[in-house]
């Protein structure tokens, strides 16, 4: 299924400047695999040494954090947006 991954500015140096990348995938994991296969330098920035999505990289499927959707095995459908957003907290204490 074609889904669009939105690339934050910090990652665009690895995607030839592209702010969005279309992937054909059934799950978030597949979408990320396709993304990093196409842009191998991005790989170590998306996943840590143990292969997990980096601790401070939040992945959203449309409006929802994928951790509320069962993690990266959650299914995607045509037209979905996948957002990669650094984890920055803070309005409060």
């Amino acid at each position: 299924m074609p889904v669009t991954i939105e690339i934050p500015t910090a990652f665009r140096r690895f995607t030839d400047g592209a702010p969005k990348v279309d992937c054909s995938a059934r799950t978030i994991a597949e979408a990320l695999t396709e993304l990093t296969a196409r842009f191998p330098e991005l790989s170590r920035h998306v996943r840590d040494e143990s292969g997990q999505i980096r601790q401070f990289l939040n992945v959203y499927l449309n409006e929802e954090d994928i951790r509320f959707l069962g993690g990266e095995s959650c299914c995607v459908k045509e037209g979905d947006r996948v957002l990669l957003v650094p984890s920055i907290a803070g309005g409060s204490v």
């Binding site: 910090a10 951790r67 650094p86 984890s87 907290a89 309005g91």
Partner: protein, 418 residues
């Protein structure tokens, strides 16, 4: 002279100089301000503080300020109240309340972080500043921006307490209400900071902003007579403050201003939003995000970016984390008000409620010195407790009406009078 501080990645250690950025572009981990303590040791003297006013700027050398920065207003310098009645109620020998409910200018500890963030905003040439906020931060950004001549634009969850919205609007700040919870607002702000040249204090200015929190810790140590407490109970939302108080204590030890001693850090959350306390109690290395549902909206961050650092600090210090229900929060707000004359917002109710729980559990020892960190003012969250105080019936302005009132309401007093 070059800066005595710069940004470093908390995970991979890469240096990033000084710039409006908050995460490492290599590993996406947070950046933190690292000081050159060897140089600091040579230049700062505790005795020099004697000539400075009691506010957060007396610790200027420990803050990431531009060289020669002249503070535009006095911020911080709040009371450390030695508790008598609350301490007696709980059976503790030595209890202190660090009362940032009266922090200047906007009545929460957020004034401290905004003060250092706006110094950085000035340095980096921003004209428009903003934040994602659960309320207190928006108040602080709006107030200090008004004074310092920044344009302010703040982003808040649409369902925020009316008093907190009003306390931002009055300063002329632009308020953008977001149809979502704080975590949605925060995510949007990260994307906005990525797209526009705005100084978002808790996003791209975050490393500078969060250093302001240290002054809460510096003041505690100084007000205790330059010594560290045994226990500190700190409310947690994003999980940053608890780490910055620990950093403040470490810096004072490094510089030789206080004697080293173990301090146990205790984190407080509302049960309706408790990702960090849950992680501590379950021994998780990574917290699990939650959908917040609590009256303690200033703590309602379900996806706390500093959550894993906070839980690690708590465990390593020998402390603990707990959470309390909404009714327990309300009871604790009333208890602090009735015993100490301090009206705290819901976050303070969380802190006091958790402290009571930890005492009951035996995790805080009653013979030790304990500090409760109260971070915000109850006047901002009156909605949360209004139901506790129904409006009473009015009486006629006549003595016989008052006597009748006494007989029904306070018969013992009425009988004594007779």
């Amino acid at each position: 002279m070059s800066d005595l501080y710069e940004l470093r990645c908390k995970e991979c250690g890469k240096a990033w100089g000084n710039a409006p950025r908050s995460f490492c572009e290599d590993c996406f981990s947070p950046l933190e301000v690292l000081f050159d303590y060897d140089s600091l040791k040579k230049t700062v003297r505790r005795e020099n503080l004697a000539g400075r006013a009691f506010n957060m700027w007396r610790y200027a050398e420990f803050l990431p300020l531009p060289e020669g920065y002249i503070a535009p207003s006095a911020v911080g310098g709040t009371p450390l109240v030695a508790s008598t009645k609350l301490a007696a109620h709980w059976g503790i020998k030595s209890l202190f309340i660090k009362n940032d409910a009266v922090c200047f200018p906007s009545l929460s500890f957020k004034d401290r972080v905004v003060a250092t963030a706006l110094a950085a905003a000035r340095r980096f040439g921003f004209q428009t500043v903003g934040c994602s906020s659960t309320g207190n931060l928006a108040n602080a950004v709006a107030a200090q921006s008004a004074q310092q001549g920044f344009n302010a634009c703040v982003f808040i969850p649409a369902d925020l307490e009316p008093a907190k919205v009003l306390n931002t609007a009055v300063y002329g700040a632009r308020i953008v209400r977001i149809d979502g919870n704080y975590d949605h607002v925060n995510r949007l702000c990260v994307q906005i900071a990525d797209r526009f040249q705005w100084g978002l204090v808790n996003v791209n200015l975050r490393p500078y902003y969060s250093e302001g929190s240290k002054t809460h810790g510096f003041e505690i140590a100084e007000q205790l007579g330059w010594r560290l407490p045994d226990n500190v109970v700190v409310p947690m939302a994003g999980g940053s403050l608890i780490g910055k108080i620990a950093k403040a204590f470490r810096e004072l030890v490094t510089i030789g201003w206080v004697e080293e001693k173990p301090v146990r850090f205790f984190g407080a959350q509302a049960t309706g939003c408790s990702p960090i306390s849950s992680a501590v109690k379950r021994g998780l290395s990574r917290f699990e995000p939650q959908k917040p549902n609590t009256i303690a909206r200033s703590l309602a961050i379900g996806n706390p970016a500093d959550g894993n650092y906070a839980s690690k600090l708590i465990r390593e210090s020998g402390g603990w984390a707990e959470d309390v229900s909404d009714p327990e929060i309300v009871s604790a707000i009333k208890l602090v008000a009735e015993t100490e004359g301090i009206f705290t917002e819901t976050a303070g109710g969380v802190t006091a409620g958790v402290a009571e729980k930890l005492l009951r559990q035996g995790r805080i020892h009653p013979d030790e010195t304990t500090v409760l960190c109260i971070t915000g003012n109850g006047l901002k969250t009156t909605d949360a407790i209004a139901a506790e105080f129904p409006v009473t019936e009015a009486i006629a302005p006549r003595l016989d009406a008052f006597e009748a009132y006494l007989e029904t309401q306070l018969p013992a007093t009425a009988a004594a009078r007779a």
